[in-house]
Amino acid sequence: MGIEIINEPSVIYGKPSLASIDDAIIKPTNEVPSKKYFMALSVTITMLLIGAVSLGLTFYKGTGLWGLKNPVGWGFDIVNFVFWVGIGHAGTLISAILFLFRQKWRTGIARFAEGMTIFAVMTAALFPAIHTGRPWLDGYLMPYPNQHWLWPNFTSPLLWDVFAISTYFTVSFVFWYIGLIPDFATMRDKLAKNADSITQKIKKVAYTVLSLGWRFSNRHWSHYEMMYLVLAGFATPLVLSVHTIVSFDFAVSIIPGWHTTIFPPYFVAGAIFSGFAMVQNVLIIIRKIFDLEHIITIDTLEKMNKIILVTGMMVGYAYGMEFFIAWYSGHEAESFAFINRAFGPFAWSYWIMVSCNVIFPQLFWSKKLRTNIYFMFVIGVLVNVGMWFERFVITVTSLSRDFLPSSWSYYVPSLIDFGILIGSFGLFFTLLFIFIRTMPVVSIAEVKAVIEGSQPTHHHDDEGH
């Protein structure tokens, strides 16, 4: 009995020529987009403006406009922060960890996921900044010799967050940009040197500057590939560290329901879970609108669904384990905190979380369902709703009922809270739409490298061939 070698299906459908890949990927940046694009953009910009007005009011009047009151001092601001940082985890995971594991199917979606990471982290970083109440004083979080002769407290998880988020953003941005350089060069070379129209001229200058003068030299590719490996090596532990440190914000405190060691792995799994759901959702729309169905294939989406299924079960395990430890510890406040989650005044949010995160993704066991575009889209949306509620459950239920029953209270978010939440989605999708119109959403060079016939046959060492 021989070993059966299962051939992976080709990453890209059909056998497109190299030049046709250029055209397919660059097309959205050259054409005047359809009416649908502008309609979508106007919706997201409206959402962004709602957020801007809510934030402006917050800056003017103060955080008293939010629903925060004792004992719930962390509300929508922190929930949204953790949610958006989580969304940002898929991108670097796809581009770094899957790169190290030589998963070729990542090529079609890596660039897009990286872009999403950057926008999600930008959106996320907004929340701790406004959460301080006086965001114009946030500069004091940086360790610099200031006139107060004070330094930040390096032993505080909240300061670790500042470093984790800013490092994560910078490294993701560099990773993204390094990948874009050859593609910018390709786009630059598609444009004539002395074009007539002013937009062509602007584009030419922009892409020339952004490509830094890349000229596809193999002497450069050699360093470039090593660089990519090194960056992936650094970004891999970085991805895992970011949500770990975010979870420290909770786990290092003593509030029942927060003070658990399961938080770091549980948060990382949840982040990958929600990030993949968001990437999958947006990709389904993008490949449809811009005719990239042969590059972002259904196989790729299916593989993403499998990861959603796996991480969803990890999250489910964590939910169960939390309950077990709460009982096993024999700690009265701890067991109360969890019973309160499932059956207390916030039980509705807990059961939304469990059904969206644990129950519905189980349907992905069926191959028929996980390859159905419409079905997977719905599950992706549900997962993101569920993951938002997970953060809500963790943050709000634990705070609203801690050790002192005399200070217990119910949390009601205000309209301004919802305005900022809507605005965060508006910011994220507006940035995404601008990205789609101005940059290649799929890595041209990487896709070319994995299509059939793009690499030399392995016989070139034999002279007799």
């Binding site: 103060g62 114009w136 390096f154 050859p182 470039y224 041209i444 030399p456």
Partner: protein, 385 residues
């Protein structure tokens, strides 16, 4: 027309197999200054070109270690040396709590530094004026063709030989690439007016913006609302109360913090020799020094530095001012500490009360100092042993 200077000769190949063969051919022919251009990294090309292993891994290692040590150094200096303060019961050098920031700074410096090292030192980028740019050749290799370029600066370069050689390898579209004369003749200097003008503009914008943000913006609404909160200040016109006070009267019998009322009247002084009115401040060197300091400030103008009662005020031509009695009389030496304290607190004859100027603790310190003076002026034989 000015003669153009040759940069290189280029040729185009159609398939990855061809370009690998061509790369091997060019490198084994002995050319050193040549390059292969491909739209994506072709496997096996580094081997075919006999390129050395990229040193970037070592660069990253060195930069990462540098970042880690700088991070530890920063946290050690700020948390344990410059501003040592115990937080959450952790030691001043709390290594476990420093790990997250150390890790993040390691990753940050290693990845950013390695990328910059690659772009600036290995690629010599940004360089958008390379002769290859905007040639038909680079437009092909940036899309779907594979190219070889042999540079004219190579030692064994000869135009016709190189062209023949490329032709023999099977290259198509053989092309000569020339330097741009205009570009070559431009001398770059930092004294360029445009460059300096730009620099000045940037300095003005950044400086002005920073000045505005730090000195003006933070004092504007709403940024100044921390200072101007709706509140009742002392001496301000009250908004809510009709009695004319913005501050409320405390409940009767309220005692201010640190200001226990002194309830003993002059009639009760007899009980002050009781043991429960002992001096509560220990006669340490610190307390005696403070007592001396306050005695010299508040008491010495009348009582003299040594308690003799020779008033400096009288000496300053204020003839009407009576000298106080000496502090060394038998009567005063017989007084209890509390009795002296009582005089400082309540005053006596011409002497006013010093309760408002001197805190209770300082009064007790002064009492100690007065006792020291008395003992020094009336020393017993055993005192000088």
């Amino acid at each position: 027309m000015e003669e153009k200077i040759l940069h290189s000769v280029t040729g185009i190949f159609e398939t990855p197999d061809d370009i690998i063969k061509a790369a091997k051919g060019v490198s084994s022919a002995g050319y050193k200054k040549y390059d292969i251009h491909t739209p994506y990294p072709v496997h096996g090309m580094d081997k075919a070109m006999k390129l050395p292993w990229s040193p970037l891994g070592y660069v990253a290692l060195v930069l990462g270690l540098t970042g880690a040590s700088l991070a530890i150094l920063l946290m050690w200096w700020t948390m344990s040396v410059d501003y040592p303060i115990v937080i959450g019961g952790k030691p001043l050098f709390a290594l476990p709590a420093f790990i997250p920031v150390t890790f993040e700074l390691t990753v940050l410096s290693a990845s950013i530094g390695t990328v910059l090292a690659m772009i600036i030192f290995l690629f010599k980028f940004p360089n958008t004026s390379h002769p290859l740019h905007d040639t038909p050749y680079i437009k092909k290799v940036s899309s779907d063709k594979y190219g070889v370029s042999i540079e004219a600066s190579d030692k064994m370069f000869d135009l016709n030989k190189a062209k023949d050689f490329l032709h023999k390898l099977g290259a198509k579209d053989i092309e000569e690439i020339y330097w741009d004369n205009e570009e070559l003749n431009t001398v770059k200097t930092i004294w360029d007016k445009k460059f300096l003008g730009g620099l000045v503009m940037i300095a003005i914008i950044v400086g002005g913006g920073t000045y505005f943000a730090i000195n003006k913006l933070v004092y504007m609404t709403p940024f100044n609302w921390m200072m101007e909160q709706p509140r009742l200040d002392a001496q301000s016109v009250p908004v809510y109360f009709n009695d004319g006070f913005s501050m409320r009267q405390p409940v009767e019998g309220t005692v201010a913090r640190g200001w226990m009322p002194y309830l003993i009247t002059d009639a009760d002084t007899a009980q002050l020799s009781d043991a429960k009115y002992m001096n509560p401040v220990p006669p340490t060197e610190f307390n005696l020094n403070k007592g001396q300091r306050n005695y010299n400030v508040f008491c010495s103008p009348c009582h003299d530095y040594h308690g003799t009662g020779v008033s400096r005020l009288k000496a300053a031509n204020k003839q009407d001012f009576p000298n106080p009695p000496s502090l060394h009389s038998a009567k005063l030496r017989g007084w209890s500490d509390a009795r002296i304290y009582h005089v400082i607190t309540k005053g006596q004859n011409t002497m006013p009360s010093y309760a408002l100027q001197i805190t209770p603790e300082e009064r007790w310190q002064i009492v100690h100092y007065v006792r020291t003076l008395q003992r020094a002026m009336n020393a017993k034989p055993e005192d000088v042993k």
